[in-house]
Amino acid sequence: MTLATFDRSAGAVPQDRVAAARRLSLWLALLLACVMAASLAIGAAGTNLWSALLSLARGEALSVVDRTILWDIRLPRTLMGALVGAALAVSGAVMQGLFRNPLADPGIVGVSAGAGLGAIAAIVLGASLLPAAVMAALGAYLVPLAAFAGGWLSTIVLYRVSTRGGRTSVATMLLAGIALGALAGAVSGLLVYAADDQQLRDLTFWGLGSLAGATWAKLLAAAPIIALALVGAPLLARGLNALALGEAAAGHLGIAVERVKTLAILAVAGATGAAVAVSGGIGFIGIVVPHLLRLASGPDHRALLPNAALLGASLLLGADLVSRTVISPAELPIGIVTAILGAPVFLWILLRRRMVVDL
């Protein structure tokens, strides 16, 4: 694979990895376009994208079946896969920059679990706790917003617990993340007991993590939050670069450290929360993508963040393609695919970087 062929041992490190990263962006954009096309073209139903496009080009109307499959099923699923993948990868990259650690991933340190708790609480308790007017006003945004709030709270607690005097302890971060994740999981479990049948059906896809529930309504509810986080994240790039030197040194470089931290936490919570709200917990994209990109073109966040969005989108769509073709017409939960790909990479990072990461 082209990304991993970058050889660090031969002393062949280019002095300017910024240019390499720019070129990489072009390739990644191309890759995303191809994967999106494939995602539209391939599926359990035999609809053929090309013949559909040809007939559209000839000015003919699509058959109802083709129209439903392409427009109501595959297109929202493809767009949602791209958005969620980008959101997961970028929030992983931002979180790693914030915690100054390559192992910080929303899925691993309990932020996804917190977001999931927020979403489940909204589904189960929303109707009984909130006035009907508020429920109606929020509509489809209720669940993503609640997930955002849950992710935001867990990120703040995590940062407070694991950062002392501007330095983050990795061991504390991972342990606190485990505790947070367990707590959120337990409370979520309690809520599931309280759920009625309809709510249970709403909840089932959470544990699996899947893009199968993609609809235009869900897409439109999640898209603004994710888009905001994706557009805002690159503005943090310079601050996150400086933070690699530690909070104090970043401050001496003129970075408004507190503001960068607050915005980074909001971006992580927004992107993770919205992604979790529409697709459940999908793990490991947030850790694999930034790590591969750092190997390929360096840790500079100005290139890392946009490239992470592109590669994350491609990777999740690719995993989704696998998940819905290997045992077609049934579907493998996508979380299984990303975990099979991602968990070994995570272990490999741990092994290789034990000296660099101060565990």
Binding site: L243, A244, A248, L253, G254, P299
Partner: protein, 260 residues
């Protein structure tokens, strides 16, 4: 123009670490802060650069630092910490580029290479920071700090280097290289404030010395005024005797000559 701390008191946890210290350094001079381990040198420097909460106030070139924004301060002074960490596999040139407060235009990129050259690391640009030796890493950090305030004087105002033990992991050749570099920065109108442990280098290169002991500045003045038998023996808790080089200039001192 001066860099001054007035009545600086720092309390960390429940311990008072600095007790109303008064500090002053002049532009055009290399001011050394010396004193035993744990006396509060780093804490004083961290208070001067606003890194720890303190009571009292600090002025740079006559301006109260509490009224300056982060980026305004960053244009006036750069800070080298006693211990530096780096989270991700940046290359040397990328670390130094972090010192550029604005973007990386081609002209300024040449600056980063020049900074690398002045600390004796020409040719290291593409190496990974984490794969360098301790002394090489320290010089990369110094180059980063130099890049941040490259011109000693900007818009008629002196700029400042605040360095916590800049030569602590360097060999004797690079110690001299860096001390000459710092003295040159001061000669060209900038201000240098450096925490030092090596009293001989301090005597050779410093224009002014501040002796910190137990959270107080117990002596301030020219090297010959501060580095005396009485003050050194009191501060370091062992009987030390200073000497003059035959040429009659700098003070020197050997550990051999200490009596218990």
């Amino acid at each position: 123009m001066i860099f001054a701390g007035h009545d600086i008191t720092v309390t960390l946890g429940r311990r008072a670490i600095l007790h109303g210290a008064a500090f002053e350094a002049r532009a055009g001079q290399l001011t050394a802060i010396v004193g035993p381990n744990g006396s509060g040198k780093s804490t004083l420097l961290r208070a001067l650069c606003g890194e720890v909460p303190f009571t009292g106030y600090v002025t740079v070139n006559g301006q109260d630092t509490a009224r300056l924004k982060g980026w305004e301060l960053a244009a006036l002074r750069a800070v080298l910490p006693q211990a530096a960490t780096l989270a991700f596999p940046f290359t040397v040139i990328e670390v130094i580029r972090l010192g550029l407060t604005a973007g990386t235009s081609a002209g300024r990129d040449r600056l980063t290479l020049r900074a690398l050259d002045t600390v004796g690391l020409a040719g290291y640009a593409g190496r990974f920071y984490q794969e360098l030796s301790g002394g090489e890493q320290q010089r990369v950090q110094l180059a980063r700090v130099l890049t941040q305030v490259w011109e000693p004087v900007a818009q008629g105002m002196p700029r400042w280097l605040l360095l916590d033990e800049p030569v602590s992991s360097l060999d004797i050749g690079h110690q001299l290289l860096v001390m000459r570099l710092l003295r040159d920065y001061a000669r060209r109108g900038g201000g240098v404030i450096a925490v030092m442990h090596d009293l001989n280098l301090t005597a050779m290169f410093a224009d002014a010395v501040r002796m910190v002991h137990d959270g107080r500045i117990i002596a301030a003045g020219a090297p010959a005024e501060v580095l005396t038998d009485a003050i050194l023996s009191r501060a370091y808790g062992c009987a030390l005797r200073v000497n003059r080089a035959p040429a009659g200039q700098a003070t020197w001192l050997l550990p051999h000559m200490a009596s218990a």
